[in-house]
Amino acid sequence: MTGPIARRALALLFWVTAAVIYLPIGVMAVFSFSTARYQILPSPDYTIEWYGRVFTDGQYSAGFVNSVLLAGSVSLVATLIGFACAYSLVNARFPGKAAFTFLILAPLAVPLLLVGIALRIWTTMLGLQPSLPLAGVGQVLYVLPLAVLNLRNRIAQLPKSHEEAAWALGASRVRAIVDVILPACRASLIATFILCFTFAFDEFVIAYFLTNFSVTLPIKIWTTLVTGFDPTINALGTMVFVFSLSLGVTAQWLLMRKDR
C-alpha cells in the first residue's frame, strides 16, 4: 500500500472520517450564529445573541459551575486513586493480579446506562439521597479505568533502578514514590487529570441518575431539549465542544510530549 493511488485513497478515507465526525458539530456551530429560531438555510442573518443568552440565563451558568466543580473533584480523586492503583499493578506481586487488572478495567466495556441504573438502585438501597457528591462518586468509578490505564503505562516505563537507588540511599517506600516516581510522572498526571475531566464534564447518564435538583450542564441541555428547542443550545453546544476539544488536545499533547 505505498502507491500514489493507495496513498490518495487513505487520504480520502481520513477526510471522510473527519467529515462524518465533525460536520454535524460544524452545522450546529453555524446555526448558533443564525437569527432564525429554526434550522433553515440560508440563514436570514447572523447574530451572537444566543451566546449572550447562555451567559444571562442563570440556569446555564449554574449548570456550568456545577459541572466544573463536579468534574474537577472527580478527576482529582480519580487521578490520585488511579496513581495508587497503577503503582500497585506495576510493582506488586500478588495472587490474582491478572484478574484484579481485568476487574479494574472492565467497567470500560459495561454500557453506561447499566452502570447508572445499578448505581441508582445500590445507593437507594443504602439509603443515600441523590446529590452532586453522590454523582461524583459514581463518575469516579466511570473514569477510574482511564486513569489507571494511562498512569500504569507511564509507571511501567520507569526504570526500576531509580526507585531502588532512592531506597538504598535511605528513602522509605512512600518517600521514594514522592521523590522519584511522582516527578517522573508529572506530565502524565496532568494529562490524566485533564482526560478524566473531559469525560466527567460530558458525562450524562450517571449524573442524571444520581442527582436531583442541582443539575450539571449536560442534564440542563437535555431537559431544555425535551421541553422544546431553544437556539441557545447551539451556542452552548459549540462552546462546550471548543472547551472539551482544547482540553483533549492539551491532554494528548502532554501524553505525546512524554515526561522527561
Binding site: S161, A165, W167, A168, A171, R260
Partner: protein, 350 residues
C-alpha cells in the same frame, strides 16, 4: 574504621522453579575489593541485590559487620549500591542527586550543599552542581553515581557492572580510578562484572560464579595461575585444555601421560591412574627445535604486544602460544618443537 565485612551463610535465591543462587557461603573482609565474576545469568547480580536488600533471600543469612540484616529493607542497611545505568534522578540537579542520601538522614540544607560541593570537587566536577544528569557524559554520570553512593560513607559499597555502560578506552582508565578510589576511601567494595579483565585489574579477590554457585574464590593471580576447573581456566584468560592420565605424584607435581604433549609435569595433586585435564596458558609453552614433541602451526595472529601462534598437537588438540616480539615467527603449515617447563601446566579438578 567505617569499612564493614559481609558474611553470607547458606544464602540462596529461587524465582519460582528457577534456582538462581544455590546456597552459598562467602566472607568478604572489611575494606576489601571483591568482585563477583561470571557470565550473564550466573546469579552474581542476584547475590549483590540480596546484599543490598533489593531481593529477599530464599534461605540463609546476610551479616553486614556484626549485624544480621537478612530481614531488613534496603534503607536500613549500611550498604550503598551503584547501578549499571547509574539510576541518577533525571529531574534533580547533580548536586541534589549527590546530596540525596544526606537529605534522607535529615541533614540541614547548608550541610548537604557543602558536602555535595566537596564531592563534586573530589570527582573533578566542581561547577557542575546545577546541571541535570542528562547534560553529563557517560563517564561524568558514573562519577556522580559513585559520589552519591559514597557520600553516606556506607560500610559496604555495592557496584553492579560499574563500568558496563562505558566504551572500552574509558573503561580501562576508570578501572584504575575505581581501584584508587577504593584505596582512598578505605571502604568495602563488592562489584559484579562479566568482564574478566575488569575483575583482575580492580579486585583484591575474585569469586568466579557459574550457574548460581561460586566455583572458585581467590586473588586474581591465584585464580589465573591455579584455576581449579576448566570453566574458571577458560573464563579468566586464554588457555588450552588437554587430556591425560596421572601416573605418579612427585613433590607437588604430577607426572601425567598425554597424547598431545607426551609426559608432562603438572602443578597439582591427583591419584595415580586417574584421567585428568590440564590447563595450559599461552605463556606456558616454549618453542624448542630440539624437543621431541611436535605440533603443526595453523595460524599466527598479531595481537600488538605479541604474536599468538595457533597449533594442533599430534592428537588434534588445539594449542596456543605467545611469541614475544622479535622472535622469528614459524610459518603456518610447518612443524615446530614444543617444550613445557615442569609445573607450567595446571591440573584441573575433573
Amino acid at each position: 574504621m567505617r569499612a564493614k565485612s559481609v558474611t553470607l551463610r547458606g544464602l540462596s535465591k529461587s524465582f519460582g522453579d528457577v534456582q538462581a543462587v544455590h546456597p552459598q557461603d562467602l566472607e568478604v573482609r572489611a575494606g576489601e575489593f571483591l568482585t563477583l565474576l561470571g557470565p550473564s545469568g550466573c546469579g552474581k547480580t542476584t547475590v549483590l541485590r540480596m546484599i543490598a536488600g533489593l531481593e529477599v533471600a530464599t534461605t540463609g543469612t546476610i551479616h553486614v559487620g556484626e549485624d544480621d540484616v537478612t530481614g531488613q529493607p534496603p534503607n536500613r542497611r549500611d550498604t550503598s549500591i551503584m547501578f549499571q545505568d547509574y539510576a541518577l534522578f533525571p529531574h534533580k540537579s547533580v548536586r541534589d542527586n549527590i546530596a540525596y542520601g544526606l537529605k534522607m538522614r535529615s541533614q540541614s540544607a547548608p550541610d548537604r550543599a557543602a558536602a555535595a560541593e566537596g564531592w563534586l570537587a573530589r570527582i573533578g566536577l566542581a561547577g557542575y552542581g546545577d546541571r541535570l544528569p542528562a547534560a553529563l557524559s557517560g563517564g561524568q554520570r558514573q562519577r556522580v553515581a559513585l559520589a552519591r553512593a559514597l557520600i553516606l560513607e556506607p560500610g559496604v559499597l555495592l557496584l553492579d557492572e560499574p563500568l558496563g555502560a562505558l566504551d572500552a578506552g574509558l573503561r580501562r582508565q576508570l578501572q584504575i580510578e575505581l581501584r584508587r578510589l577504593h584505596r582512598d576511601v578505605g571502604l568495602t567494595f563488592i562489584a559484579v562484572t562479566h568482564d574478566q579483565e575488569e575483575a583482575m585489574t580492580m579486585s583484591d579477590r575474585i569469586a568466579v560464579m557459574r550457574d548460581g554457585r561460586i566455583e572458585q574464590l581467590g586473588t586474581p593471580q591465584n585464580i589465573y595461575d591455579r584455576p581449579q576447573t576448566e570453566f574458571v581456566a577458560r573464563f579468566l584468560g586464554r588457555c588450552s585444555v588437554i587430556k591425560g592420565r596421572a601416573v605418579a605424584q612427585e613433590e607437588g607435581l604430577v607426572r601425567v601421560e598425554t597424547e598431545a604433549l607426551g609426559t608432562v609435569l603438572a602443578t597439582g595433586t591427583a591419584v595415580p591412574g586417574a584421567t585428568v585435564l590440564l590447563a595450559l596458558r599461552p605463556e606456558a609453552l616454549r618453542l624448542d627445535d630440539g624437543a621431541g614433541v611436535r605440533a603443526l602451526v595453523t595460524d599466527a595472529v598479531f595481537t600488538g604486544s605479541a604474536v599468538r601462534l595457533g597449533m594442533t598437537a599430534a592428537d588434534g588438540t588445539v594449542l596456543e602460544l605467545d611469541l614475544s616480539r622479535g622472535t622469528p615467527v614459524p610459518e603456518a603449515g610447518g612443524q615446530v618443537g614444543l617444550r613445557l617447563p615442569p609445573g607450567a601446566a595446571i591440573l584441573l579438578a575433573s
